[in-house]
């Protein structure tokens, strides 16, 4: 079998998957989002390891299929996709360039993850959540309307400067 010698390398496949877009946030690729954790090419085939953003992410099957199809189109040798849950996905895996793409698309990028020892401290002290800037007008302070948005990974906010509702990627 000569396929392994001619088949694309892991580096090439990172580039290939860099153009597979997330179905819910079609401005980011599955690589931008940090969903693709590993690509291994060896004599046994090509294995791509992915992790979902949320347990109930309804897009994960579509993402798996899109990745498989991209691997097949790229001529990957015996491609397979493996889904893992640990380590758990975090919004910290969205890099600076991807955050800028999100903002330009009208979605506020995730702020720093607040992993407080006490999950209730923010509620009980009635503290305001960290500020999120408006992706449209850049106003630094906006209002949280709902911690749950059109997809599990986004919240709904409102900018009182430009009077626009917008979605913000949740820090998790």
């Amino acid at each position: 079998m000569v396929a392994s010698a001619l088949a694309p390398t892991a580096d090439t496949l990172w580039d290939v998957l860099g153009s597979v877009l997330d179905p819910e946030v079609p401005v980011l690729s599955v690589v931008d989002l940090g969903i693709v954790r590993d690509i291994r090419v060896d004599a046994s085939g090509t294995e791509v390891t992915i992790t979902p953003t949320y347990s109930g992410c309804p897009a994960i099957q579509v993402i798996e299929r899109d990745i498989e199809q991209a691997l097949v189109r790229a001529g990957a040798y015996l491609p397979r996709v493996r889904t893992v849950f640990a380590p758990a996905w975090t919004s910290d895996w969205i890099g600076p360039a991807a955050r800028e793409k999100l903002r330009a698309y009208g979605i506020a990028p995730p702020g720093p993850r607040v992993d407080a020892a006490d999950p209730l401290v923010q509620i009980l002290t009635r503290a305001t959540a960290p500020d999120v800037a408006c992706p449209f007008c850049g106003a630094p302070r906006t209002e949280l309307r709902s911690a749950f948005g059109p997809t599990a990974c986004k919240s709904i906010r409102f900018c009182s400067s430009c009077h626009q509702p917008f979605e913000a990627f949740k820090p998790i």
Binding site: Y54, G56, A88, P119, I123, L124, S146, A147, T151
Partner: protein
């Protein structure tokens, strides 16, 4: 009353008026029930995973019933999102349980083809949604235990369970905050919202005690370092509950009856109706895919 409507009042008995028809189940009876009804409970590990999974599946289904009915659009979206998280967690846990069981049952088979008495959820999660206050009180009481429980399960000797727990804990933290936020808004809101929040909390408080119910399955899981015995998390749960109840200007109900039995397959009359709705499609069209 049709299945689609949300009753204004909880349909179940509240506090001391509630019928005490659910008797505590002895361990001997539990083992018997488990053997007879599930046909699969050969192993404590599988049994434990089914308990974790079924709580999530049934609560997720109840929350999904709010879709299109919530008081405001944002809340409609929030409850549907939380339902999705819980059903997603249930799906992963059932898949793991099915693999360990080794009888070839998929997560879908476990969700849609088991009968009522094979379900291992606490009765709390199968009760009707009631009004919005009941839904919120239940979400809060449940999530207030899940965050410390999942944190402990992240150290499980079962690596798959530990991975699922790490992911689920992040989601449950959002659920807990959401429930607590509404407890405060409604409890410390108008006279009517306070009264209805208190009534809802009182009605659910006896059922919430079953969350801390444990038996030989929990002993076995603790012995194998697969899970922390849920009974040791009582203080962590009460700390979350007490602080929010106080901040919401609500009063802790006095402890009264403690229904139990869900963990061994004894359920209220509500679960069968819920399953009829949840399971009808895959049972009417076996093998259907879309």
């Amino acid at each position: 009353m049709g299945y689609g409507s949300i009753p204004d009042e909880p349909e179940f008995g509240a506090g001391s008026d509630a019928p005490a028809q659910v008797r505590p189940v002895s361990l001997e009876q539990s083992v018997q029930v488990a053997t007879i009804t599930s046909g699969v409970a050969t192993n404590a590990h599988v049994e434990y995973l089914l308990r974790l999974a079924d709580d999530r599946l049934i609560l997720g289904h109840r929350l999904s019933e709010w879709c299109g009915h919530a008081p405001i659009l944002e809340e409609d979206i929030a409850l549907a999102n939380i339902a999705l998280d819980l059903i997603g967690q249930a799906s992963l846990l059932l898949e793991h349980a099915g693999a360990l069981e080794g009888a070839g049952r998929s997560n879908d088979a476990l969700a849609f083809l088991r009968d009522e008495t094979a379900f291992r959820n606490v009765q709390l999660v199968e009760l009707p949604n009631g009004d919005f206050a009941v839904t919120i009180a239940r979400l809060f009481l449940y999530s207030a235990l899940q965050v410390p429980l999942l944190e402990a399960l992240e150290r499980s000797s079962d690596a798959t369970l530990a991975g699922i727990a790490a992911k689920a804990r992040k989601e449950s933290t959002y659920h807990l905050r959401h429930g607590a936020d509404w407890m405060l808004k409604l409890g410390d809101g108008t006279a009517e919202s306070h009264e209805r929040m208190q009534r809802a909390f009182n009605a659910l408080w006896p059922y919430a005690q079953e969350l801390l119910w444990g038996d030989a399955v929990d002993d076995a899981m603790a012995a194998e370092s697969i899970a922390t015995d849920v009974r040791t998390l009582a203080d962590a749960w009460r700390s979350n509950v007490d602080r929010v109840v106080a901040a919401a200007t609500l009063t802790m109900p006095t402890d009264s009856w403690r229904p139990s039995g869900g963990r061994t397959g004894r359920h209220t009359e509500h679960l069968g109706h819920l399953l009829a709705v949840m399971q009808v499609l895959p049972r009417s069209h076996p093998g259907a895919a879309w």
